[in-house]
């Protein structure tokens, strides 16, 4: 008998967001909770993250990573896809519906996230630059273009293409990064979409688990 393999992911020992669930381990935790896969977490400090052992796991010196026996992965999108491919619940069985769900995964990460990250970088790294105030509305308007397009496509549907999928998991995760900005409130159907994602029991379990790292309170998961 082989014991089931429990994957290990990495997360920040002290996340820059202080437990708001915006670090990228949250996406992987959420995916693991959706499919009911237990997992271990190894917390890494910023010093440990830059050391060669972690750099071997993650060439771009970030979290999360994913280790499962001989397999080591990085990039939250790739890890979520790996989990979705090996377990039921995050990708439809129908081949065409599956390809469309994967399309939304890439759309979340390659079309929607970059302008949103740009806003985060502007705030975090360019807040003290002379151009910050003038450039901010330009960056925000770029996000609004994408949100407007997404809002039209979503319409009054619950999820982007039929049942909840890994595409929705990543899109909601990406949109959550806008929470503090208030921009999302301009698109009521997108706000409701994000609220639906957050209301999922698997999201809640994942959120509690990442928050417990900061409060020191063991999560219920």
């Amino acid at each position: 008998m082989t014991l089931p393999m429990i994957p290990t992911i990495t997360a920040f020992e002290r996340s820059p967001d202080g437990g708001k669930g915006l670090a990228r381990d949250m996406r992987v935790r959420w995916a693991l909770e959706e499919v009911g896969q237990p997992y271990e977490v190894r917390l890494v400090s910023f010093t440990e993250m830059k050391a060669s052992a972690h750099r071997t796991l993650h060439p771009f010196v970030q979290i999360p990573t994913y280790e499962e026996g001989d397999l080591a992965l990085f990039e939250s999108g790739a890890i979520v896809f790996h989990i979705a491919e090996r377990n039921a619940g995050l990708l439809p069985d129908d081949a065409n519906a599956r390809a469309r769900a994967i399309t939304w995964m890439f759309a979340a990460l390659n079309t929607m996230e970059p302008p949103i990250i740009d806003l985060g970088i502007a705030r975090l790294m360019e807040g003290d630059k002379p151009w910050f105030e003038q450039r901010l509305p330009v960056v925000e308007d770029r996000i609004r273009i994408r949100l407007g397009e997404l809002s039209v496509r979503l319409g009054d549907a619950d999820w982007l293409d039929g049942a909840f999928s890994a595409g929705d998991l990543l899109m909601v995760s990406v949109l959550l990064r806008l929470s503090r900005s208030g921009i999302l409130d301009e698109y009521p159907n997108l706000s409701a979409y994000v609220a639906r994602g957050k209301a999922r029991p698997a999201y809640q379990r994942a959120f509690d688990a990442q928050l417990a790292v900061f409060t020191g309170k063991p999560s219920s998961g």
Copy 2:
């Protein structure tokens, strides 16, 4: 007998890059050429791209799209993945090696491309802004951090993880966007890596095909 299904992709009628192969249809053409899949191209003008027929295909009003019978996809990463999954040649057979190749696909699009796109946006959309000159080196240094990390990981290998894969196809495509900037020349192993990608016969066929749209000369493909 069923005739083989020939997919149709969309591309710019007049690409902003004038046929330098930097528009995202090039990635899809390259993938199709690598696996030997014939394809049709429907050229769209900027006016057509904004019309509702194209918007139904691509909610973010871009190219390329991919149509194959009942299936319609957008996002170049998702289309390349679809081609790689349905045909031999772009993803390894071994399950772990396959997961690692997919990791590089996501790394190319979600870690490496965003700062490179940011440079393109700065040049194209913010070139006349008062902050442009001061901000440019900040943007370029962000790219250098990622290139330095990628350069260390690649070392003297030909490709990112064993044989050429869809991960290399997307990474080379993303790095090609730096051609004009000269930044890539600071990393000789990455320059050589990109040159190896461009030297592949499938890349050449794809490049000639997209260039033929501009020269009016039919491609040999």
